[in-house]
């Protein structure tokens, strides 16, 4: 929980304000109010929901061993450079690169440090063979990289040819792997005009200017280099990683897709914030979606220790940064947080998308409830998020209806960024926050020995259907540990539906589309999002769950170009693909 300014005021100040006054003992013998009665009422369930029943039946099983995925991200910590670079880690990406109908996984490799030199490490492209079996084909596919110290990978179909392309971020450069359609890629970032020599972290694909081709937003972090490498220490003076506040910001960039395999930098023309002083953007997460539901694509950026940005699109691709006045830039106390992961979802079922941000320790994770008219309010306190306390350093995150009860729950992977935190907890527990009917979230506890009851150095998180059963698996990347593949084997009594949209009049991935599932127990909004989480990419597929006793009555799809389609005949417990009807002009 985030206490008010006064209650968290340094206790030393309380002592020093009045040495005599506050330290006097032997005070009133008044024993005060009925403590037992007060305590008893605190254990009453809230809203009539018996304690412990929320999320009953949820079972998330770690099936990593079956997949054979042993590849893991290396950050170079063993090289003892103690660089802030090693604190970020890498993400995980779902991509059906060979269009065989099975989701594959791209895993950035990270890197290390030579003699005052940053070196890269090869990445992995885990091809899904079915039956939860994977094989690394990165070298064959031409995406193993190796020279670049990598962080994230983001999927977008830059030429709308049906074969997803990959944008890989990293230190000092980026890589654009153009899918050749035959299981191989060609690295073309220079030919494409994607010049970004900064330290890139997260990225998102989406058609910002509505020309039918996916554009690219790239977050850049801070100006660390071996020439700008201060020394920092931990609580016992051990050498440790420095915090971002010691560095200047690096501006983000937005590239518009020219539609011919090339891109142009429009950062200065469309209204991006491009300052480089310390208080500007230190981007670690970016998400594209129609946040204000006006039919165009907006951008939300999670910045580390500086205010987050909300860029609202005027429809033509011109962006206005309104994070502050829309109350999504800061936390409830008006402070900027160390924001890392993002997602967008309708937690309370009011058909308005809410923003969710995972933050640094001692900072509540931010749930920004959409109040309409583009206004948000920080609702972490109201929804019980602050009861998590300040112990977690949150990274990859996603909304997902894990228990198929019709409301979206929240997943977060956590892990500290420095080697010697005061709390002593470098590896931290991941979180499943179960949504209690859109009112509050409750942390789900798991039996000992399970993945969610074991601490990890978590970073990326993405969801997608690896198995092909229509339900989403959760893949979480770690530092110096193989990624975890978590299968949802909950015994929830609910029905499900998953939908993949294919755009025809706009960009193929249909980022920006909104889909509403109509059921007898209410409507559920889902949105196709570019980017999101932390340096990771989920499958471009939407997932719903709803109680068995309610009936699905239809789907309404609003495509990015404005076309609205109604679908009445939708089969339950099914995974479908909807293709946008061609607009004949």
């Amino acid at each position: 929980m985030h206490l008010s300014a006064r209650t968290t005021r340094q206790p030393i100040q309380l002592v020093l304000i009045c040495v005599g006054c506050l330290l006097a003992t032997g005070c009133s013998s008044d024993s005060g109010e009925g403590i037992s009665a007060e305590l008893g009422s605190l254990t009453e369930p809230i809203g009539g929901v018996p304690a412990g029943s929320v999320g009953a039946g949820i079972e998330l099983r770690d099936v990593s061993a079956q997949t054979g995925i042993e590849f893991f991200y290396e950050n170079g910590a063993d090289d003892q450079a103690n660089s802030i670079l090693e604190s970020l880690g890498g993400g995980v990406t779902f991509v059906d690169f060979d269009a065989d109908g099975r989701q594959d996984l791209f895993l950035p490799g990270g890197g290390g440090f030579g003699d005052k030199v940053v070196v890269g490490r090869r990445s992995a492209l885990m091809r899904n063979l079915g039956d939860e079996q994977f094989v690394d084909v990165a070298a064959l596919a031409g995406v193993d990289g190796g020279q670049l110290y990598t962080h994230g990978c983001h999927v977008g179909d830059m030429d709308n040819d049906g074969f997803p392309d990959l944008l890989v971020t990293g230190y000092g450069d980026i890589r654009l792997y153009h899918n050749q359609g035959d299981g191989t890629f060609l690295e073309v970032h220079q030919q494409a005009g994607l010049a970004n020599r900064s330290w890139s972290t997260a990225a998102a694909w989406g058609d910002i200017n509505g020309d039918g081709f996916a554009d690219l937003y790239i977050c850049n972090y801070v100006n660390w280099s071996f020439k700008n490498d201060p020394s920092c220490v931990g609580p016992q003076d051990q050498p440790d990683v420095c915090p971002p506040k010691l560095f200047d910001a690096l501006p983000d960039v937005l590239f518009f897709n020219n539609g011919d395999g090339t891109f142009r930098d429009v950062s200065d023309q469309v209204g991006l914030v491009t300052g480089t002083e310390q208080e500007y953007s230190k981007g670690l997460g970016v998400l594209m979606a129609d946040i204000d539901l006006d039919g165009d694509l907006d951008i939300y950026v999670a910045n580390d220790t500086t205010p987050n940005y909300l860029y609202l699109n005027d429809g033509s691709g011109l962006l206005e940064e309104v994070g502050l006045i829309r109350s999504v830039a800061l936390d409830a106390q008006g402070g900027a947080n160390g924001s890392m992961g993002i997602d967008l979802g309708d937690y309370n079922g009011d058909q308005l998308p809410d923003l969710w941000v995972s933050n640094f320790e001692q900072e509540a994770f931010g749930l920004y409830e959409n109040h309409g008219r583009g206004m948000f309010l920080h609702s972490s306190e109201k929804t019980g998020i602050t009861s998590l306390g300040g112990l977690f350093v949150g990274f990859g995150t996603a909304f997902l209806d894990v228990d198929l009860d019709g409301d979206e729950d929240l997943l977060v992977t956590n892990g500290h960024v420095i080697k010697y935190p005061l709390s002593g907890r470098v590896e931290q527990l991941p979180l499943l926050l179960v949504n209690d009917q859109g009112r509050r979230f409750q942390r789900r506890q798991f039996p000992a020995g399970e993945y969610f009851s074991t601490p990890h150095a978590g970073r990326g998180l993405a969801i997608g259907d690896l198995v092909g059963d229509g339900k989403a698996e959760i893949v979480i990347s770690h530092i110096q540990q193989p990624c975890a593949v978590i299968a949802n084997q909950s015994s929830a009594a609910g029905a499900w539906l998953s939908v993949r949209l294919i755009g025809r009049n706009g960009a193929r991935d249909a980022v920006g589309a909104t889909v509403v599932l109509h059921t007898s127990s209410g409507d559920q909004l889902r949105m196709v999002k570019g980017g999101g989480s932390y340096m990771s990419q989920s499958e471009y597929r939407l997932y719903w769950g709803y109680p068995d006793d309610s009936q699905m009555t239809g789907l309404t799809v609003r495509w990015p170009g404005g076309l609205v389609e109604e679908h009445d005949a939708v089969i339950i417990n099914d995974s479908i693909v909807l293709i946008e009807a061609a607009v004949v002009e």
Binding site: S4, R6, T7, C21, T25, S327, G335, S379
Partner: protein, 443 residues
């Protein structure tokens, strides 16, 4: 024989006996009176000694109110005035009322109290205020001659080190103090506070629990333990402690505010709201008002939020959270221009305070660091709390008493304070002192 003159008749024997008896009675009465007087004097001396002993005992237990009572009683006894004055000075020092301390020490000196002890008390006062030179060079020598005042020395130096944010040094002293005095809750409380400040929650929790074991009525420890438990998500347990802590009037606002936040965390928003309404109504506490406003903001009662916070924002410009919540309410009410103005101030304030924190983290403690101390002070004075700003000004002064810009800033500060609070003579006295210093520095 009758000789024409009236003479006294011869006293018969019984008369002589009666006279002897009378003489005996008079002498025994005299003796009794003398004895009574002696007993009275002894009683007076004893009671004086006893009351002063009790005073010192109360101060050792940090019960300054009791110490003051005993001193007031001892004032009725016109002996050991010098010692009374000395103890008054010590009590004033404990209360950080250094002007009063100075007056009482002077009085004690006039009454012939031991000069060595008076000088030592002055040095303890300087240590307590964070005088770097005293802190770094005089601990050993003073402790060596401390006699029965060892704990006074420890306490003064620890508080001074904490003032100067020298937490390692303070911790070291406190650890030793705890080890040597296993039944003293005071150093445990201070050490717990240091650990709490450093986010070492488990260690802080253990110490606060130990304090409460030693002194179950230690309301401050109960409050601090409550906060530490909240930080560890032991919210329900924290509530119990906060209820107890609120029984102490000076802790009530803080404890009730923290309890309201616990209720919100536990989903009991109504209970939180009721508690805050009561607190705001009775005390007008600004932090409670902001907390209440946040609840109202979540409930979309934007006009109520604006009404609650307008005076808070005006009176407490340093409360960034108040201004931010206020700005959000204004925005929702459609007053975009005013909202934007406040949003901008929030950003600027955050930026400046972050900069102050960065400066503070790289501060040295030598005279050269006065400039940087002063920069931090000015940021807090302009954007943060005046109390914090004053702390930094005093630290700057402490590291370099010849630093003219610091003294100028102190003159300005106390000018403002004496204008704002003309009924507090200490502000004017302090202002005069710093003005004199400025003159000595050549201004």
């Amino acid at each position: 024989m009758y000789n024409g003159r009236r003479t006294r008749p011869l006293k018969p024997d019984f008369m002589k006996r009666r006279k002897r008896k009378r003489r005996r009675r008079r002498s025994s009465r005299t003796v009794r009176i003398i004895v009574l007087v002696l007993l009275l004097l002894a009683g007076v001396f004893t009671s004086s000694w006893y009351m002063l002993q009790q005073t010192q005992r109360a101060m050792a237990k940090h019960d300054l109110e009791a110490a003051e009572s005993w001193l007031q009683w001892s004032a009725w006894v016109p002996i050991r005035r010098g010692h009374q004055a000395f103890l008054r000075a010590r009590l004033a020092r404990r209360r950080a009322d250094f002007y009063a301390m100075k007056r009482h020490l002077e009085r004690a000196g006039e009454l012939g109290y031991e000069v060595r002890l008076l000088e030592r008390e002055k040095q303890l006062a300087m240590a307590q205020q964070g005088d770097v030179q005293i802190l770094t060079t005089r601990f050993g020598p003073i402790l060596k001659e401390a006699d029965s005042d060892v704990l006074e020395v420890f306490e003064a130096f620890v508080i001074g080190l904490l003032h100067m944010r020298r937490y390692d040094g303070a911790s070291e002293l406190l650890v030793g103090w705890c080890e040597n005095y296993p039944d003293d809750p005071f150093p445990r409380y201070l050490l717990g506070s240091v650990y709490q400040d450093q986010d070492r929650d488990q260690e802080a929790e253990a110490l606060f629990r130990e304090v409460l074991r030693l002194d179950p009525e230690h309301h401050q420890a109960a409050y601090s333990l409550g906060i530490v438990l909240i930080d560890q998500q032991k919210t329900a347990a924290a509530v119990e402690l906060l209820i107890f802590a609120a029984n102490k009037p000076e802790l009530r606002a803080d404890a009730d505010l923290a309890r309201s936040q616990c209720y919100r965390t536990l989903g009991r928003t109504k209970a939180a709201e009721q508690l805050l309404l009561s607190l705001v109504k009775e005390t007008g506490d600004s932090a409670a008002t902001v907390e209440l406003a946040q609840i109202k903001l979540e409930a979309a009662e934007f006009q109520t939020v604006a009404d609650l916070l307008e005076p808070v924002v005006e009176d407490h410009p340093e409360l960034v959270n108040a201004r931010y919540v206020y700005a959000q309410a204004l925005r929702q009410l459609g007053d975009e221009e005013t909202a934007d103005h406040h949003f901008s101030l929030v950003i600027e304030t955050n930026r400046q305070l972050a900069h102050a924190n960065e400066l503070a983290e790289t501060l040295g403690s030598g005279p050269d660091s006065a400039d940087q101390h002063l920069r931090v002070a000015r940021i807090h004075l302009q954007y943060g709390s005046r109390a914090e700003g004053l702390q930094w000004l005093l630290r700057s002064y402490s590291v370099n008493k010849q630093h003219r810009p610091t003294v100028e800033e102190l003159v300005l500060y106390y000018q403002q304070q004496s204008q704002r609070y003309p009924d507090v003579p200490d502000y004017q006295r302090t202002l005069d002192n710093f003005k004199n210093l400025l003159v000595q520095l050549g201004g």
